[in-house]
Amino acid sequence: MNFQIPIGPQHPALKEPISLRMTVDGEVITDADLRLGYNHRGLEKLAEDKSWIQNIYLTERICGICSHSHATCFVQGVEKLMEVAPPRRGLYIRYLVSELERVHSHLLWLGVAGHEAGFDSFFMYTWRDREIVMDLLEMISGNRVHYAMNTIGGVRRDLDEGQKAKILEGIVTLRKRSEYYFRIGATEPSFVARIAGVGMLSKEQAVSLCAVGPVARASGVARDVRKEDPYAVYDELDFELCTADSCDVLGRVVVRVKELLQSYRMIEQMVKGLPDGDIVAKAPRKAKPGEVVSRYEAPRGENIHYIKANGTDKPERLKVRAPTLANYPATVVMLRKGFIADIPLIFAAIDPCICCAERTVTLVSAGSGEESIVRMSDLRRQALARSKNAPVKRNAEWPF
């Protein structure tokens, strides 16, 4: 007999409103259906009524965690349309904030992963350290959430020597602590056993379902917009593309941990190599008719904006595709054959950002809804067979 369990739109396991319908057979999920729209704000339509400058602040408010990602992706595109070249100092500061944002987002996620796996001290440690980077962001921009650093043609705030020293100091502490936690992870077998083999997504599935970001990279798909489409300063920085091939939640933790260390490297390179000069170039009020595809590697994966200009001071069309949306079809696959108790863990492992994903759209894959009558003895036989084939990976090892 099949049961459907509704999880959400309001549920203690979820931090934002989304509705998951699980068709379950005992403890095992046989199908998952997602219903979005609880956070839909019609933002793309609204953008058509706002000027280019107003839209920077609008796109920044798509998301509270990766606010700089959306604003940067938008501004990058508009600069191409207006043929404005931002000064190099401005670009360095802009992408320095991007990497700091990635650090805060990944630390936040590591804490959530620890919490969902029942490792709450890990959660408290990472969130304590996240305060270091949050303080740095507040020092640079004056804000903790919406940094409002971007403007068309550069950034709005400069860095001085004292701030540069503080950033480097913060990064030293963060690096030391991050490395320490990885060692804790390595000697904490219950944590590794809890996340290994959970939420499997094969490489072929990741490619065909167009997964992005750490989810794709944890399945062995070596894709990163910073590497394959190096925008702005990324072709001048020395960093590595991080992947894992275990295809599960453990792999997603490993990828994000490695990315943290790469981000620290990039931040140091950018602070030390910060060029002199202006931080902003003057931009026109209107953009010539044209279209541009702007891509950006947000903490959660590839973020893409398609902007079409019609010669006025407002866009003809702004299309936003946030990374979480691209990962939903993959999530449905990950949830299948998992346990009910794994739902929060698997769902958290894509680092979902529902407010990002829902400036429009929903998804997919319905439960069959079939019902059948099963005898008690059959049920017992099924239960025994299932426990033997349960998707649990034993004797997992921390890969560091």
């Binding site: 167009c210 394959e228 691209a326 759209v361 998804l363």
Partner: protein, 157 residues
Amino acid sequence: MSDIEIVESLKRDLGAKALEVTNPDRRRIFLKVAPSDLVPAVTLLRDKYDCAHLSTISGVDKGEAFEFLYHLASRVAVISLRIEVPRAEPRFASICSAIPGAILYERELQEMFGVSVEGIPDGRRLNLPDDWPEGQYPLRKDWKHVRPEEVIPGGKS
């Protein structure tokens, strides 16, 4: 492959089917095909040009026609495949057989532009509310949002 090589190769492979190929910026290629050539073109891009990753599908209402762009990303470039569908008969084929990850974006198009994607595996209503009226397509240019009048239970005091 460099951008110029990709453009030349696309012209060779598609011949007369490639209505327009432009390369306005580094690693950005726009290719226009007829709606009837959409699925073969996507399959060709996926198999020969390593474009298995569909970033998104964007749509614009151009009055007489809808313009849809399929942003396909390879490791070296983004090839944006453009089709134009007349407003009077807004229908074209689904590419889910070639790229299963397209389902979401196609459902979004159906809902937001009122087009019909033929052969879509799951054509249910998307994120718009369940009580959204039929025939209202928010991303069409002639659609304007009218805020419904607020009804205060019991009336104003």
